[in-house]
């Protein structure tokens, strides 16, 4: 099967070409799974989101207007699928009218432990990475989606805004909130020193 560029791929997807569907899966599934895993925090839900994303994309390919790239469009579908699922699981975390754009009180840094100078071995060990993932799970879903797209998936601010239907300033503000919350949590974690696996509860 020869590779098609985005424009040709979209045309063939719209024509119902099965090989084009397969190419889209081949090119994008790993990325969407990664996003879903970081959003949902577990493999089972991530797989459900992955399947929902492609089923929904294939159903609605006719409405894709090519104002964004195919991959940003898929990110948008996947994030929506993840947020819907999270809303069902943890409705208190994903309120529609969240008061996130104001009230900076809870963002004021409280931890001032400078963990920058810790040995890389401490910062990069498995237990620290597990804590980093738990910290993502601990973010409210609306902050989590911005953080995952920007800082994990590496989308630009504009692409993230496009994928999430947010303004640029809302993306920047939520990203900052997410990063500050993660910094706070990692500071607390690293200030407690290395925890040996056998002493952990």
């Amino acid at each position: 099967m020869s590779r098609m560029d985005d424009g040709e791929l979209v045309a063939r997807l719209k024509a119902g070409d099965q090989a084009a569907y397969a190419q889209l899966v081949e090119e994008q599934a790993a990325r969407i799974y990664r996003l879903a895993l970081r959003m949902m925090g577990n493999e089972t839900d991530a797989e459900d989101v992955l399947q929902e994303t492609f089923l929904s994309a294939f159903r609605s390919i006719d409405s894709f207007e090519e104002r964004s790239s195919l991959s940003t469009w898929l990110y948008r579908i996947a994030t929506n699928a993840a947020l819907m699922r999270l809303r069902r699981k943890e409705p208190e975390q994903v309120s529609v009218d969240e008061p996130l754009e104001r009230d900076d009180g809870d963002l004021l840094p409280r931890q001032f432990f400078d963990f920058c100078c810790l040995p890389e071995d401490d910062l990069l060990r498995d237990e620290a990475r597990a804590e980093m993932l738990r910290a993502i799970d601990g973010l409210p879903a609306t902050l989590r989606s911005v953080f995952v797209l920007r800082d994990i998936e590496g989308l630009s601010t504009e692409e993230t805004a496009n994928a999430l239907d947010l303004s640029i300033s809302a993306v920047k503000s939520r990203l900052m909130r997410a990063r500050l919350k993660l910094r706070e949590r990692l500071s607390t974690y690293f200030s407690q020193g290395p925890v040996l696996p056998d002493t952990r509860q």
Binding site: Q18, A19, Y21, A22, V25, E26, A29, A30, Y33, R34, L37, E43, E47, L50, Q51, F54, L55, F58, D104, L107, L108, P109, F112, F113, D114, F115, C116, L123, L124, R129, M132, L133, D151, I152, K172, L175, M176, R179, L180, L182, R183, L186, S187
Partner: protein
């Protein structure tokens, strides 16, 4: 150079004011004037200096997180759900070499 010399720059109000600019500062997109102001503030405010450094480190640690692979079994089930099983490509290098 210590806080006592320029106490007017080291107040909770100042720290709070700079908080909103840290994202742009770290990404190098903060305006020159505000950038100089923030850097002057960090000279006298150790807390803000630590926050800026650890914030940048936090982002860098997340950038270094290994990306999880798409397990072959998950991909196979996806293609099955989409009725695309005949297109499953073998030998793409994504075989699960390690136990999960």
């Amino acid at each position: 150079m210590n806080a006592a010399e320029r106490p007017h720059e080291h107040t909770p109000e100042n720290c709070r004011r700079y908080l909103g600019s840290l994202g742009d500062y770290i990404e190098g997109t903060l305006g020159v004037e505000l950038c100089h102001e923030l850097e002057a503030h960090m000279v006298v405010c150790e807390n803000c200096r630590v926050v800026v450094n650890t914030l940048a480190k936090t982002i860098s640690l997340y950038h270094q997180l290994p990306a999880p692979e798409l397990p072959n079994a998950v991909k196979e089930r996806l293609l099955a759900v989409l009725d695309l099983k005949p297109f499953l490509q073998n030998g793409t290098g994504s075989e699960d070499l390690q136990a999960e």
